[in-house]
């Protein structure tokens, strides 16, 4: 991918920037588009479509958020309100039957974007004067205010039950009334591709480049003729637009918007998603959104403790891989360049597989402890990894502890070899 010239994380300096030939620039987008089209043929069920729609919406929202955090260096604790307000506006449009019946549904997210942008214009006019803590705290305050308004200003936000509508009242789009999940899937897919492409292009424009410059060194940027404040402002407004688009898509998908679309929890989640994916790379939030949606929707079907695991994963990411999942992937680029990536495969297998098994063992211990403490008396049986056993007998505990100890032990023992292989794969040849 050519995305790497977008490397913006101070912790991970940029790789070589290639003069992007046309074919290279377009390839990831074409591959992405084809994948988006093909996904429903692999996962045909409606729930898979619903989950994928949720993923794509989160992708747009996270990319929009990263325009602030990753590209502009602005940490926002209240970005959900821009998506939320865009979504609420779309909901009101859905309910304005005269207008809505003359509007093709695929156009609706534009209005969400415009309303998100409108709010960002207002808030940005005073919040972007400073970056850093002042910006973060204003975003928190404004986020809390608007979230609180959602239960007070019932006329617009519908109180705690929110407002709902029916997307099928829109003007049929080439005969399609978007009755089925699959129709909505393609609508969402179209928008995720379009929005991601537009946001990518934005990062290649003068104001997008200067956003990076202002993030790294606002003072120097000022002495290059750019007002740091206005650069931040434009980024903020653009981010508000795409957040609003995500909100509009949410409205189309769920046909209901509630207080939860605005509250600080949602704002916190998008921060988590983005950071997990990696703020330093354009595609980082995409990975984060996909991973987090799976965690939230799929893992929560498997275990009550999903939030505990998500939290652990998150803290571990911040501590050990501040570049996020994307950073982890991009670490391997130099080795690939040197043609030495294959030297890593065997050490990886030797360390990561036992490590993974050890972690699974640890999870098993956590689950068993939880079951032991909180399950109903007499309800001693629990099922874990497709095996059912009695959590009150000693054997499963011994097995779990042994698996954990052996797995982590092997991983620990083989780690130095991996480190060595890693250094070897990254140094020879002398190139960067």
């Amino acid at each position: 991918m050519t995305d790497e010239n977008l490397t913006t994380d101070p912790a991970r300096p940029a790789q070589r920037m290639r003069a992007g030939s046309l074919s290279l620039t377009f390839t990831p987008w074409i591959v992405g588009g084809i994948l988006l089209v093909l996904m429903p043929f692999i996962f045909t069920s409606n729930s898979a479509l619903t989950i994928m729609n949720q993923m794509w919406i989160t992708v747009i929202f996270a990319l929009a958020y990263n325009m602030l955090l990753g590209q502009g260096g602005m940490l926002s604790f209240g970005h959900a309100v821009y998506a939320g307000v865009g979504g609420f506006a779309c909901m009101h449009i859905m309910n304005a039957s005269d207008f809505f019946s003359s509007l093709p549904l695929p156009v609706l997210p534009v209005f969400g974007g415009l309303f998100g942008m409108g709010l960002a214009l207002i808030v940005g006019s005073f919040s972007t004067r400073n970056a850093g803590t002042v910006f973060a705290m204003i975003s928190l305050g404004v986020g809390e205010l608007i979230a609180a308004c959602s239960v007070i200003i019932v006329a617009f936000f519908g109180g705690e039950e929110g407002i709902s509508g029916d997307r099928t009242y829109a003007m049929p789009f080439f005969g399609n009334e978007f009755l089925q999940q699959i129709d909505v899937y393609y609508l969402t897919s179209f928008w995720v591709l379009l929005s991601a492409a537009l946001m990518y292009l934005w990062s290649r424009t003068p104001v997008g480049r200067m956003a990076n410059a202002v993030r790294d060194n606002p003072e120097r940027a000022e002495f290059l003729g750019y007002s740091a404040r206005w650069v931040r402002f434009y980024s903020f407004v653009a981010s508000g637009f795409f957040a609003g688009v995500a909100g509009g898509l949410f409205a189309i998908n769920y046909e209901i918007l509630t207080e939860e679309n605005l509250n600080t929890t949602s704002s916190g989640v998008i921060l988590l998603v983005t950071f997990l994916g990696g703020v330093g790379f354009f595609f980082g939030p995409i990975i984060g959104a996909v991973a987090f949606t799976l965690l939230q929707t799929v893992l929560s079907l498997q275990t009550e403790l999903w939030a505990f695991y998500a939290g652990t994963l998150f803290v571990a990411t911040v501590m050990f891989f501040p570049g996020g999942l994307a950073g982890l992937m991009m670490m391997h680029v130099p080795a690939f360049r040197l043609g030495k990536a294959n030297h890593l495969i065997v050490p990886y297998i030797k360390t990561l597989i036992p490590g993974f098994i050890g972690i699974l063992g640890l999870c098993a211990l956590v689950e068993m402890t939880f079951h032991f403490r909180h399950a109903a008396t007499g309800d001693n049986e629990m099922t874990l990894f497709w095996t059912t056993f009695d959590s009150h007998t000693i054997l499963p505990w011994i097995i779990a502890i042994a698996v954990t100890a052996i797995g982590l032990g092997i991983a620990r023992a083989t780690a130095p070899a991996l480190k060595e292989a890693w250094n070897e794969a990254n140094t020879a040849g002398g190139a960067a």
Binding site: N5, T7, T8, D9, P10, P13, A14, R16, M17, A19, G20, L201, W202, R204, T205, P206, V207, G208, R209, M210, N212, A213, D216, N217, E219, R220, A221, E222, F223, L224, G225, Y226, S227, A228, W230, V231, Y234, A238, A432
Partner: protein
Amino acid sequence: MSTPALELTGLKKSFGKAEIIRGIDLSIGTAERHAIIGPNGAGKSTLFNLITARFPATEGTVKLHGEDLAGLQPFQINRKGLSRSFQITNIFPAMTVFENVRCALLWSQGYKYSFWNLVNRSRQLTEGADAILDQINLLERRNLPAGTLSYAEQRALEIGITIAGGADVIMLDEPTAGMSHSETDYITDLILKVTEGKTLVMVEHDMGVVFGLADRISVLVYGEIIATGKPEDVRGDPKVQEAYLGAALEAEH
């Protein structure tokens, strides 16, 4: 006489009760290379910061080509054709060398805050940036992150960024600070080359650089200019000798 490129009248600056700049009058002509020297703590960097509106002045005016700069923000001053470098290297370390220069070109090439142009698509930008890189001898480092350059190279890049926007008044704050002799020579040549036909204001400690470069010199002591003139005149000025130069020259030999 034509309008001076930069004109300071009665410029003062106080931090609390301490008066750091105590009334400076200075006029620098177009295409002149002007050096400001003075002992540590004389207020040279503060003076720079006043001219470029990094700090607001307490009193007095700064005029650029006859135009009063009062109330303008740094970026507005930059747009009027005044560009500066910093004493402490001030580049965009996470971006590539090429991008550093390209960012510096954006405003002057009229891109402003546009989001309908793609920077990669502009041949003018790419060529312009490459031309600058060529000038500052960093073309080979083009695609490295600026933070990984050597110190001298970063200083060169800083000068490159400063001149890239095509400003006609260039202000350099100690461009050779902390450099070895060979590096100093390299930077001095570079400055000579890139400020051809432009007004240059520089703060510098290295007397070799100053006397090699400057058309005129001002000596700043305790927030006041005690002498201004051609290098040889300043060198001979007894007040300067007394206040500063003698000691500095002695130290050099």
